[in-house]
């Protein structure tokens, strides 16, 4: 199987007031297409940060920082890429460097190739189930479709909603759904554009054991039946056991193992 994602020497530091917290200290990680990898680690170990960087939602640290007191820091940009600062490390997706991509390419990548599932579902409260699922499909769709009331990929959305047992909830808004239903909507939304990589950030973390298990069944089913590549962050060893491979994040570094 070919390599889908590779993270090389990723470093990430957060500044909180006077304190600097180094979350990732040189992550090296790769995964193949069709693989299901679980990322485990204690709270605050940088699992979500790693997922966000892998999914082009965040960037690694810029490396060239020149302090210019009292005006702050100057970031020296990568001379080969006008779009991004020089980074401590690099993310490769299908062999392409993310740091060399323009803003537009990164947006398209998030829209077409990555699907995000968050712990807190993050559905838009003003939209109903169908509209929430269709949101990524509408991004990039031409204006005339909105003007004529057309919905891109509506058939696909209906299929997903039916597959996840939400047909009777199609017109309901997130506030009218249970936690499990919301998470199923979030997964359907992540899958609408048939992404190459599904990034799930503790998708069962906010659910009871039974509902959480049902959500996991959905994700594992996707992996097994559709060969969906899945990068799942969890701190639950039982969840991690279901993955093809588990990586541990300890003090900002990867430790592979089952």
């Amino acid at each position: 199987m070919s390599e889908l994602l590779r993270l090389e020497n990723i470093q990430k530091t957060y500044t909180m007031g006077a304190d600097t917290i180094q979350v990732l200290r040189g992550i090296n990680f790769s995964m193949d297409e069709g693989e299901f990898v679980a990322v485990m680690g204690a709270s605050g170990s940088g699992k979500s940060t790693m997922l966000h960087i892998a999914g082009a939602l965040d960037r690694p640290n810029p490396i060239s920082i020149v302090p210019l007191f009292p005006f702050g820091n100057i970031i020296v940009h990568n001379p080969r890429n006008k779009y991004a600062p020089a980074q401590s490390g690099e993310v490769y997706f299908r062999g392409k460097q993310l740091s060399r991509m323009s803003r537009g390419e990164r947006h398209r990548l998030r829209n077409h190739e990555f699907g995000f599932v968050f712990q807190f579902y993050h559905l838009l409260p003003e939209l109903n189930v169908l509209e929430n699922v269709l949101l990524p499909a509408m991004i990039g769709a031409p204006l005339y479709m909105a003007l004529f009331g057309a919905r891109p990929r509506k058939a696909e959305a209906m299929r997903l909603i039916e597959a996840f047992g939400l047909t009777h909830r199609i017109k309901h808004r997130p506030a009218q759904l249970s936690g499990g239903e919301r998470q199923r909507v979030a997964i359907a939304r992540a899958l609408i554009n048939q992404p190459a990589l599904l990034l799930a950030d503790e998708p069962t973390g906010n659910l009871d054991a039974k509902t959480g298990r049902a959500i996991l069944d959905v994700l594992i089913g996707l992996h097994r039946e559709k060969k969906q590549t899945l990068l799942l962050v969890t701190h639950d060893p039982a969840v991690a056991k279901l993955a093809d491979r588990t990586v541990h994040l300890v003090e900002g570094r990867i430790k592979e193992g089952n």
Binding site: H107, F116, H122, L124, P125, E126, P136, G140, M145, A146
Partner: protein
């Protein structure tokens, strides 16, 4: 696509959106109303001034001395190859300051006595249309009789008589009702609420009792609850009555008096119409034009009916043979709430004594004293309502030659000076009027200069040639300035709209931080996120501006009806037409202002949303999606 989609969803599913829309809506509506009504005033003032002066005015450099050869100048202008075809009519005027005294009313007014040729004046200005007996009353009679056409004279008399009888009955019953109501009000206990302070004092006392006993009610005390309820009702009732008494109580009387006022005017008109019908030559009348020809006199004049000038049967002297026309606002006519002057059934012929103070070289120079004042008895034959208040309250019109003589501007054979005028009013042909008035004025100016060069005795200084609006520039400029100032002030107030939109959007952006993170996580760009909020602002401007324009337009076009509605509901007269120039509140919407305010509303919506939109676009999606 998602920008438009999300914008529509936010618009339809977030209640907070109503507030910026409402603010934009109300501001635009307010601006449309103020601009249109003020604009209506300005336009009406301009129109009346134009109607008063014609198109071009040639003025004497010296008011007291006037200028000679005015007849020759008019003829020369008309004969000129270039200017002649552009001029429809011209007329000279002469003015002198003085006093008007009406012995019958034992009242005097400072006045300007203006000498005019009524026929010529009517060709240049709308003088004829401003006259009541000469024009307005007969035209109204034609309007009243026209629905009965075709009819014979006898049938018209019958119809007018029946109408007069009906109006008479109506007026009689309204008068009776008014008397009864007045008596009721005079004897009423609640005439003036403040006289019965104790009644109002009950309200807070009842309120306090209600509050104390509310506790008793909560503790399920039946008596406490009952007394508390009664006290509460008394409290509310007195407050409500106290608020509305001063307005509501006299309302009924006001409405009846108002209806009686209208009925009185209608009665006078009905009787005038009956007289006109009776005076019609016998025959068959089929068309309105035929009727108008028989009723409306063809030209205005200062003629006093011969019977009026004869001594009376008891030996009292007859009225002077020279007629004059009094300005309608000189205070000799009452004006009702509808802005109509109350005229009797018959033309009011009464003696007017004018005392003028000519102050030119012929009459002894500029030192005005009692020795060179001139007094003359005239007979009021009509009244003129031009619509320009300053004119209607100051001007009395008499025959040109007579006033010329009184002002000492007539020909003087001893010094060999010709008769003089002070102004020549010129009306251009409709085609020339549509063209460049300033250009024609310049041509007339050159012609007048050449004329003066050729005739040294016209005047010592050059004559002034102005267009009608140049002549009234200071007055019109002041009215225009008022309009600009009011719109500017309201526009300044409307900056609040921008701040409100900004604040509400900023709040929405803060509320939507997580949504922004989600949108970016699923592939939305910075520009896309900013676009959502800018489109949102655009929609608020479009909806608010559109609704504001629509409501403003509806309000302005129905201003007079709304005013009547308020009057009938409360008895309050907001627009007292008896003290205003115009008898109708301007109700024409300025389309340009509709467009301008709509564009400004849309602009304000976009600008108000711009900064919050930029803030939103730079939100870090990771921060947004990290927490619930």
């Amino acid at each position: 696509m998602y920008k438009l989609f999300l914008t529509l969803r936010y618009l339809t599913r977030r209640k907070i959106v109503i507030f910026p829309i409402l603010v934009v809506w109300l501001c635009v509506m307010m601006l449309v109303i103020v601009s249109s009504i003020m604009g209506g005033f300005v336009d009406r003032v301009k129109e009346t001034n134009h109607e008063l002066l014609g198109d071009i005015v040639i003025t004497s450099p010296s008011f007291a001395e006037g200028f000679a050869r005015y007849d020759e100048l008019q003829k020369a202008l008309k004969a000129d190859k270039e200017l002649g075809p552009l001029i429809q009519a011209s007329t000279p005027t002469v003015e002198v300051y003085g006093l008007v005294h009406i012995p019958e009313y034992q009242d005097s007014r400072a006045a300007v006595l203006e000498g005019i040729d009524p026929v010529g004046r009517s060709q240049v200005t709308k003088f004829r249309e401003s006259l009541f007996n000469e024009y307005q009353a007969p035209v109204q009679a034609v309007d009243d009789l026209a629905p009965h056409l075709p009819a014979t004279q006898a049938q018209l008399v019958e119809a007018a008589g029946a109408n007069a009888e009906k109006v008479q009955k109506q007026f009689g019953s309204l008068e009776d009702e008014s008397e009864k109501l007045e008596l009721k009000q005079m004897t009423s206990v609640v005439k003036y609420p403040l006289d019965y302070w104790w009644l109002i004092a009950i309200a807070p006392a009842a309120g306090i009792v209600a509050c104390i006993l509310l506790r008793a009610r909560r503790t399920r005390s039946v008596w406490g609850g009952l007394v508390g309820s009664i006290a509460g009702i008394v409290f509310l009732a007195v407050i409500v009555l106290g608020l509305f008494w001063p307005v509501m109580f006299p309302r009924q009387l006001k409405l009846v008096n108002d209806a009686a006022d209208q009925a009185y005017s209608a009665l006078n008109q009905a009787e005038r119409t009956l007289q006109f019908a009776q005076s019609l030559p016998a025959g068959n009348y089929t068309t309105r034009e035929q009727l108008a020809k028989a009723i409306v006199p063809p030209v205005p004049n200062f003629d006093v009916p011969a019977a009026m000038t004869q001594p009376g049967p008891t030996g009292q002297p007859g009225l002077p043979a020279d007629g004059c026309i009094i300005g309608s606002e000189m205070g000799f006519f009452r004006r009702n709430r509808f802005g109509n002057f109350e005229h009797g059934v018959n033309p009011r012929y009464t003696k007017v004594i004018v005392t003028v103070f000519p102050a030119n070289q012929k009459t002894g120079g500029i030192s005005v004293n009692a020795n060179n004042s001139v007094q003359r008895g005239l007979t009021m034959v009509d009244d003129s309502h031009s619509g320009v208040f300053d004119v209607d309250q100051m001007y009395t019109y008499a025959d040109f030659n007579l006033v010329q003589q009184l002002a000492g501007l007539d020909a003087d054979p001893q010094t060999n000076t010709g008769a003089r005028a002070q102004e020549i009013l010129i009306r251009l042909t409709p085609e020339a009027e549509k063209g460049d008035l300033v250009l024609v004025r310049a041509k007339v100016g050159r012609f007048v200069r050449d004329f003066q060069d050729a005739h040294a005795d016209v005047a010592n200084l050059p004559l002034e040639v102005q267009t009608w609006d140049e002549k009234q520039a200071r007055y019109l400029g002041a009215v225009q300035n008022e309009r600009v100032m009011v719109i500017f002030c309201i526009g300044l107030m409307s900056l609040v709209v921008l701040v409100v939109i900004f604040l509400i959007f900023y709040q929405i952006v803060r509320d939507k931080t997580r949504d922004i993170g989600i949108i970016k996580a699923v592939g939305g760009s910075e520009a896309g996120v900013a676009g959502i909020f800018i489109t949102f602002g655009l929609f608020i401007g479009l909806v608010g501006g559109g609704m504001g324009d629509l409501c403003g337009w509806l309000f302005v076009t129905h201003t007079n009806q709304i005013h009547e509605l308020i009057f009938h509901a409360t008895g309050i007269v907001i627009w007292d037409r008896s003290v205003y120039l115009f008898d109708r509140i301007p109700d024409t919407v300025d389309v340009r202002s509709l467009i301008v305010f709509f564009v400004v509303a849309v602009w304000a919506g976009v600008v108000g949303a711009l900064f919050p939109a930029i803030v939103a676009s730079y939100q870090d999606p990771v921060e947004a999606v990290r927490y619930e």
